[in-house]
Amino acid sequence: MAATLKPRGHLTDREEIWTAIRALPQPWTLVDIAMCSKCEHGKVRDYVRSLVRANIVAVTSPGQPRRVPTQYTLADDRGVSAPRVRKDGSPLPPTGRARMWKAMRILKVFTEAELAEHASLPEAPVAEGEVHTYCLWLARGGYLRSGGERDRWSFIPGRDTGAKAPQVLRIKQLYDPNTGEVVYQSKTEGGDE
């Protein structure tokens, strides 16, 4: 394809790996991808393995342990978004929060029950409690406004920042009450992967 498709926004490890797979000259090895995407080798290996099982990546020449690295090619380019696949290669639907984010930007005004219904897929339902939690967080972030009635929300149009759903992250801090300082902060957890 002539057009260059560069993803926008911050990329997760899998997205970095996928972008590297599409960008590098074919065929490539796991080491090439790890260098290009700056991801851990283990993560690269796991994701590429699932992509092979999903028939998205093909093995062009099998390597020999400790001598020749296996070479891979991209067999089925799915475009800019990193394919969501399980370890066995079966396709994975978008996360519940991604579906909620998408549905609320279309509906604009909605009740929690309505959003749960819209964001649910037959194989992956979204619970109303989960809708409630996510809406509360988005309201804190200024994406949603409470719509008067008890579980009605409206999406603030100017806050449609893009296709990816805002993530609620966990972070742990070590706080010393003697000095009133946060002396250590853990890495964030709970983002999309």
Binding site: D77, S81, T111
Partner: protein, 249 residues
Amino acid sequence: MMQNDSPVNTPLAGRIANLSNVSMCLGSFAKAINRESHLPGLLVMHGPSGYGKTTAATSASMMFDAYYVQCRSSWTRKAFYLALLKVMNIDPARTIYAMEEQIVAQLALSRLPVIIDEADHLTDRGIIECVRDIYEGSGAAILLIGEEKLPGALARWERIHNRVLEWLPAQPATLADARALADLYCRSVRVADDLLELIHTASKGVARRICVNLERVQETGRTMGHPQMGLAEWGDTPLYTGDAPSRRR
């Protein structure tokens, strides 16, 4: 209060899909996505506002993982392409031509369909041809949604008109649809059949008005403490009909 909060607690999944406009839209979209290569791939869903077109679009975009954009009256060709690239999560190229290439490439590679809501704005501004450009380049199934005059407006662009696989006029809500909406919106008060029929008639089949009326009925039931609202409980309180208020005498 809490324990009898949801006397109509049937499982949620699939209730929206049972609405007649939604199931029609899902069925036709599935056909367009899986069509044989010689068949055209544009769908046009049209109908008056409040008939539930956007509800259908939401379901379709979820079910088929479609890209969804809602057009605005101020949009130029560039604005349209930028909006599409935003939902595709692609860093836009500099020129309009390059943006179009990006969109076409992404659609062709991902094989995902597109939903363009409020497409009337594209015909009004004469930029509907860019939908054809995208369609021709990628072969993606595209669902255009607009008001009643959209088919007429599209007739002016024969090259688009020829590529429509199916025209989907949104239908007024049936009584069964009204029941499905009542089950979805009235969680704490059950709406009896006689009152539901009255609501259906007064709302003239417009889904949005049915929802407004159901909401009022539920609110009244809640304040008066009725777990079920029928004609007897509702009395002769006027329903929302969408008509402008008549002169007071």
